[in-house]
Symmetry: C3
Subunit: 467 residues, 3 copies
């Protein structure tokens, strides 16, 4: 069945994101209808008869309710399961089974799950579109749509915008989706992490290598709190990693000031250590001259890192940002379910556009596994449903990327299941193509390969099929 999933912000291209925004603008006008200041209803009924089911394996009020409200404002209805403890998971059911069954109950499923990559696993098994409502520390793409839409409504052009992201850059899924989008739209990203909560290495790598972001030398900006500043390349969305290093826009106007401060919550449910030195954004912080024109965003909920005294500051737009949750999700649902007469999205056979990276399905219980302990593949309940799958990222130093959680592995060996030989440093031309991927198995190191009987390939050994 041809459909469309949104498990990552990168499942939407820039044009599609713009379409979401254009449609959200239209819905927002209807919702704000001056004749019904207190009755937002009846904005449209394009989703009449349709059902949205929310399957939430983590606490949430705002995301679930905003999805439900969005579906209802479209004329549809919402059902859902809000509490892990009262759901089938409490009986030991896998997400894969739950999603297959729930596909019969609804026209679109929203999943929130504590495991990274859960939404992609759900998408593998669903017969209806999946929307990622937040999966572990992986991504939260609909939040990012609200974030970008907020900046757009504030007349902030993303291109060359100076965006500071503050707080828990490691565990915050909203940050991960957000920085990818910023890079893709050409914004400059200023990292202001809490101590020990720096941007994960694999996200950093993607920003540099896939979205052509380049770090600006420290002497080009003066900000003690800033950990790094990514400047996006002139053609940010070129993904040809093997090309020459991007030419940075050296004339980035860093000193023009910070346009956006994006604050995130200390994710106490993900980190055990105390967040004592967590950066707090308050009136004093914003007094610095460089923040004079900044907009302050926060995905909410906040738990102290954003002072309530800012609520009346005109730079604070986080409640406006929250208000955009309904029209943005209305637009996304309408486009995913083909309810909008004007725009049609492409549909794909498995719900996703075919990746340009070769995908390796590992044999069961053999070879390398995802190194992310919180990846959905390590969930006992999903043992029989989520196999080890990796995209091969053909960078100078090639790396494997877990199909589900998108965490990278930069050291591994590849072995030929027929010749029983393994290799450690194939050149790009030597990599198997998708057709031959099934002949290969991946190991984390030579020891693991040899342990199950593979031998090192000799100099004049077999040659992998070139792409």
């Amino acid at each position: 069945m041809d459909l469309r999933h949104v498990t990552s912000i990168n499942d939407l291209d820039n044009d599609e994101i713009e379409q979401v925004f254009a449609l959200a603008d239209r819905y927002l006008d209807k919702l704000k209808d001056a004749d019904h200041p207190h009755r937002i209803g009846e904005s449209t009924d394009v989703a009449k008869g349709a059902i949205l089911a929310s399957l939430f394996y983590e606490p949430s009020t705002r995301t679930r309710l905003s999805f439900e409200a969005a579906m209802i404002r479209l004329g549809g209805k919402a059902i859902g399961s809000a509490d892990p403890a009262t759901s089938s998971a409490a009986k030991g059911e896998s997400l894969a089974d739950t999603v297959r069954v729930a596909s019969n109950y609804a026209d679109v499923l929203v999943i929130r799950h504590p495991r990274d990559g859960a939404a992609k696993l759900a998408a593998e098994y669903a017969d209806v579109p999946i929307i990622n409502g937040g999966d572990g520390a992986h991504e939260h793409p609909t939040q990012t749509l609200c974030d970008l839409f907020t900046l757009r409504r504030e007349n902030k052009q993303l291109k060359n915008l100076n965006v500071a992201v503050s707080g828990d850059l490691k565990g915050s899924r909203t940050i991960h989706s957000f920085v990818y989008a910023l890079a893709r739209f050409g914004a400059n990203i200023m990292l202001m992490p809490a101590k020990g909560m720096e941007l994960p290495a694999h996200v950093d790598w993607r920003l540099r290598h896939e979205y052509r972001c380049g770090p600006l030398p420290k002497d080009r900006y003066d900000n003690a709190a800033m950990d790094a500043l990514y400047v996006t390349a002139k053609q940010p969305h070129q993904l040809s990693l093997m090309a020459s290093p991007p030419e940075f826009e050296r004339n980035v106007r860093v000193k023009k000031g910070v346009d956006v401060v994006y604050v995130t919550r200390f994710q106490k449910e993900r980190w055990t250590e105390q967040g004592q030195d967590y950066p707090k954004v308050d009136a004093k912080f914003l007094k610095a001259r460089k923040y004079r024109e900044a907009r302050v965003l926060h995905p909410l909920p906040r738990v102290g890192e954003l002072d309530a005294s800012l609520d009346r500051d005109k730079r604070a737009v986080y409640f406006q940002q929250a208000a955009y949750g309904v029209p943005i999700r209305m637009a996304l649902i309408a486009l995913m379910l083909d309810l909008d007469g004007r725009n049609k999205w492409k549909k794909f056979a498995d719900g996703f556009e075919k990746s340009s990276h070769v995908l390796f399905d590992q044999p069961k219980d053999a070879g390398i596994e995802c190194i992310n302990g919180n990846c959905i593949v390590h969930d006992k309940l999903e043992r029989d449903y989520a196999k080890s799958r990796f995209h091969l990222i053909e960078a100078e130093t090639p790396r494997l990327r877990c199909f589900y959680c998108e965490r990278d592995i930069d050291s591994f060996v590849i072995a030929n299941r027929k010749t029983r030989h393994y290799d450690t440093n194939l050149t790009a031309r030597q990599w198997p193509d998708q057709k031959h991927a099934r002949d290969f198995v991946l190991f984390k190191d030579t020891q693991q390969a040899e342990h199950v009987g593979y031998a090192k390939r000799q100099q004049a050994g077999r040659k992998a099929k070139a792409r």
Copy 2:
């Protein structure tokens, strides 16, 4: 108020079950409308303005969501309480009170409860139709409707079908509803219980005596895993237990193979001991020649007893079975609420067809009590609402059947409250009829009767009113 409850599969006669299936077929066609592959909606709006309330006192995702989806697909709306811990029960309210109050909020109530017989108690107090969404280890009638409908859609005629039921036959309420229906429709039932989880004695008794099932001698079939094989009589639905033993269809084609394997989950929430030897159905199991044409069903969720490797086997129909949950429940609701123009169900003064068995209401705190410790009558919260009530089953050796959980008691004494005498072996002709039932009290044994001052009836004592 005349209405109709479904607390047991036996609250529906075979004709009515066929009506559910015929209507489900029609709804299924609408739901699968090729023009809206992803939008099942708008199938009908016969339930416009109606409300279904789900009162779930046990974890559930699929049953609750499928009922809610069914009501919405009919054009109605759903409300509900999914979590025991956040409901009025947490404040110590009885189910009886909750149901009386919730009758004002909805047009039909679905109840799930950990206690056997809870649905019948709910039906006693509700002003609107009650649907049993699973009560303890008693029954789960709507699951059985999905099961039978699946077989029907797979072109399996129930008459003489060889159906193997595997796993926890003791604690699985789906099994209990299912085997009654199989017997009523003339299927042969092959029992393959997990160790210590054999079919309860009272279910076995009903199959043999009320649905005229007969066990086939062991030498007539060769299956080590099979505990017993029930062959249904030629006229399976004759309930005259006093008639001569049924004439078995000796020519049952057992060796033709097994048509259906019905697998059930280990009910870990009901059993404390480990399910180590729980039977697992996997590819190896199904390799046996006799399963070559079998269909594999499972009510889901599964927790290991049904191997994921079977999911792509064409004999596996359990996801299809789950998919039928919505149209089946749509049909049931439509018929119960009189929303279907073509079919009208009879309504009954108390929601049930009058039983042919005499019903004894025991005086409060006196006499025999239900022997099922998990029966709703033993729930402290229901103490003032669920009195001891028994149907007298007039078999050769008469037995009492708890009105709520339908567990049988095969040894008891009956005493006359006026003469203060008790009796142990009345003949069928001596039993009181319904009109005189209130003059009698039941005790578990002579000791209990004598303890409260009853004396054994002398030879030429009073004679009970014959029916």
Copy 3:
């Protein structure tokens, strides 16, 4: 934005309450439509497209479901969060933030919260109407509407009605809303508290001083179980406290019997000590001659204080009372949201009619605080959102009333922030008016005032601006 909140029964005047009842009568007729005994639906669709969101921070089935059913019966839809543990509060979000965000999802919010005054805090931050679904031990105004409507439907005129209220008069929020309404409509209130659960002093004070209720001397009634009997004045709703003491209707016909017995549940979630001596209302209790014509009401759920044997007594109207929950809430929602064509309610700039009492906003972390430990201002999560605010009640001995929980403080000092002097016994003419309120700060005693540098005002000191 002009709107209307209902956080207390006193947010509605008597005329508005009558309007709710008149509209509820109309809805009730539709709901009971003889053509659809089991299908209450389609009564109206005035709320088409509108959304009610329930934010429940405490267990509830009936209140939440009755609100949801009411909105659906009006043609709208309902979303909500039923479980504190799965909501944003579990992440540490303040109610203030949650309400601001949820204002974007719905057209009306129903709040239930364990803290007194939570509904008023919610109303301060909401952009849509707030309905109090019960806040701590403060109030439960929609329950009171059901209660009064029940009496009205039973042909009980409130004026001079003898109403006994039994049980936990201290912790029961339903009682507090109820007695205010009784007083305002001129009923006589007979207090029959459980031991140690007497009516709180501040509620008693309001009955006497604001609703002109007077206690009848003990020798005027003979009832050992009765703690006090309030007789309402001839003009019950005159609030001019400075006027002469009310002239009691000395000819109150106490001995005519009790017209209403209102029983309440032992609030085990609020009291730790055992409710051993909790009064139980049963058949024996009601045998007394004075209860011969009484109606027995109970807000439900009951947990033993109201015997199930009464359920078939014609004086028991508590299930009827529960049944009125839906039409009453339909009417309230319709009037608050302006959905009723015939009646229009006044809207107010901040959701409430301007109080005649001067409101003091205390500076942060200074001066007197609410003495009610369960007040929402003491909730850590609301620390930055709920400041100390007090109404000055200008009685003979003036008192402060917490803006949120309405608990009174009868001893305090007032200080002038400019002159740095404090005063202990200003006459009424000396009190600051609203315009000058910000120049003053309140302290709990002279010691607290002096500790931060205030000095006692000298005889011929500054004179507070007279009103």
